[in-house]
């Protein structure tokens, strides 16, 4: 099966098309979506295992020789990201069944999710820079639908901002690819890497590297390009927010990691220094935001910004510890952000508000929710047996090995701020006495919302405890990032 690596892209796409035929039949839509996501997840697990046992999977579409057709490449990093994406989608789709409401389901909610997953998986798997642009557009256009679907006033206002920012960044993406194409004359990512090392990265390539950082920085929300994120992400309902928070910014991070480890590796003193400074500033800006708000959604949204900074800081160190820390933290952050957004969705459902000052005393009525939230919060901050620990440990180790002592200390200090910000939610929402009477909620709905969130939290615990077992996968992913020749040989064989 040489087409195996395309299945996580084709299958969601196929089921999204099928769903277009059943607009009014909500039950059929739910069943088909569930089948589609489960089948795609199974194919991605097979792919993960194949990449582990047989090495990088690469294919050039249409049977053309390698630099001339569109190459699709699945190395360990992209296989891991694709699997995590589908895993999260599964839980968020199950959560949507009870939470999103029939009115939205009737207007192409599930097709939009599946089209977005198609785009995300495509962007993770492609080996062609212009094809990456196309997959970015696929996921962005589907995300425009998801952000505006429902048509409340807030959604309309924020979707305008979101679309405007993304249209501008997409135009900049095209311009940057045009610059790159006029310099190296190829679009295949492995071939670009070869061509750049032949000319040894003259000034113009460094300019293009910074332009790519701006483009992907807007998508992945680094400082100072994250300004659109807090407002836009707060507008859509919780399952959509969970999808966006867990997946969309990570595509930008992946694109930065890929281009900065494959293309622009000959003048790291300049490009990676900028990346490092910006990621430290991103962490600081995120920390300020996370402490400033008394709103559940905003606190977790600013935690996305912090995580973006931490991951890119790890990647910018360009040593083994930093890079594998970044990969560990990337997967951890996707899982934990999905879990946290689903949990605060449950809190918002119970209390009917997202304002922390108006809630309290939930521990007496909803103890399991409280304890699982506490575990997820500790996982996010990086308390040792849980999932966030090993990634951040390796990132800090990488920073110290590279001699960036102060930046490493800032990353460590940011953990305290993260812990403080999420513990504030715990203290205000779960401790003390209930300040206002809780609105009447349905126990059955509550249980159905809790189930996917709890399983996701359990998964993050397993991720933390099973670090030793995951290590060979992470080592494979890091090797490809640190030695571009492995990637190039796999594509241009």
């Amino acid at each position: 099966m040489i087409n195996l690596l395309l299945f996580p892209i084709i299958l969601p796409f196929f089921f999204a098309i099928l769903l277009l035929f059943f607009k009014e039949k909500i039950r059929t839509q739910r069943i088909l979506t569930l089948i589609g996501v489960v089948v795609s997840l199974a194919s991605s697990l097979v792919l993960l295992w194949t990449v582990k046992t047989e090495g990088i999977q690469a294919i050039t579409l249409g049977s053309w020789p390698a630099p001339f057709g569109i190459s699709m490449v699945s190395d360990m990093l992209s296989a891991l990201l694709v699997t995590t994406t589908l895993l999260l989608t599964l839980f968020i789709v199950i959560y949507s069944f009870t939470s999103i409401g029939e009115e939205r389901e009737r207007y192409f909610y599930y097709p939009a999710i599946l089209f977005m997953v198609t785009g995300v998986n495509g962007a993770f798997t492609t080996g062609d820079i212009f094809n990456m642009f196309v997959f970015f557009e696929v996921l962005l256009i589907a995300s425009y639908i998801l952000i505006v679907l429902g048509g409340t006033k807030k959604q309309l206002r924020e979707s305008l901002k979101y679309i405007l920012v993304n249209v501008i960044s997409s135009a900049l993406f095209v311009i940057t690819v045009a610059y790159l194409y006029s310099v190296v004359g190829t679009l295949n990512m492995a071939d670009i890497s070869v061509k750049i090392s032949e000319v040894n990265q003259p000034g113009i390539i460094t300019v293009i590297a910074v332009l790519f950082l701006i483009v992907f920085g807007i998508k992945g929300s680094i400082f100072p390009l994250y300004f659109w994120l807090p407002g836009s992400y707060a507008a859509p309902p919780i399952p959509v927010l969970a999808l966006f928070g867990a997946l969309l910014t990570k595509v930008g991070i992946y694109a930065i990691m890929r281009t900065y480890t494959l293309f622009f590796i000959h003048n790291t003193g300049f490009t990676h220094e900028i990346l490092m400074i910006l990621s430290i500033l991103t962490i600081i800006a995120g920390c300020i935001g996370a402490l400033a708000y008394f709103d559940l959604k905003q606190i977790i949204i600013y935690n996305i910004v912090i995580a973006v900074g931490v991951i890119l800081f790890g990647a910018s160190q360009m040593n083994e510890a930093g890079m594998s820390g970044a990969v560990f933290y990337l997967i951890h952050d996707m899982l934990i952000k999905g879990a946290l957004f689903l949990l605060i969705g449950v809190i918002i459902y119970i209390t009917g508000t997202s304002n922390l000052r108006k809630m309290g005393g939930l521990m007496k009525t909803h103890a399991p929710l409280g304890w699982f939230y506490l575990i997820a919060a500790f996982g996010l901050a990086g308390i040792p047996p849980l999932s966030g620990f090993i990634g951040k440990l390796l990132i800090v180790q990488g920073a110290f090995e590279a001699g960036n002592i102060w930046s490493g200390i800032i990353v460590l200090a940011s953990s305290l701020v993260v812990l403080l910000s999420v513990m504030r939610i715990f203290i205000y929402a779960f401790w003390g006495e209930s300040k206002v009477a809780l609105p009447k909620t349905n126990r059955k709905t509550y249980n159905r919302l809790m189930a996917p969130a709890l399983v996701l939290v359990v998964l993050t615990i397993v991720y933390g405890i099973g670090t030793e077992w995951l290590l060979p996968f992470m080592t494979d992913a890091t090797d490809v990032l640190l030695q571009p020749s492995i990637y190039i040989d796999a594509v241009l064989k």
Binding site: M1, I2, N3, L6, I10, F13, F14, I17, L18, L20, F21, K23, I59, T60, L61, G62, S63, M72
Partner: protein
Amino acid sequence: MKTNDVILQTTTKLVFFIIFLFSIHIFFAGHYTPGGGFVGGLLTTGAIILLLLAFDLKTVQKALPFNFTIMTGIGLLLALGTASGSIFFNVPFFTHAFDDFTLPLFGVTSLHTAMIFDAGVFLVVVGSAITIIQSIGGDS
């Protein structure tokens, strides 16, 4: 006063078919000359828009009783199906095939699977463009 559109409507009835036939020509010519599924689809859309201008939305929907959302779906399925056909032969995705066939009316004709993909593009373009126009001009 009710306006009399008899000249516009009569001309439209004639011109519609000329534009439609031209769009089919453009669609089939795409492999060797400028044209293809996208332009062909837009031309067909143009022909339908001319009908919408000369008549009203209800009349056109009665004359062309298609669900254009479904048409988009069918187009996508055609395109994906053409590309995935290669999976069953275990060659890279999107590998096309072609051969010469002797057809009763045309003689020896070279047929290429890219044509089916283009037909998918054609249907998607027509389906989505008409859906946009219907939903903007529809509710009044």
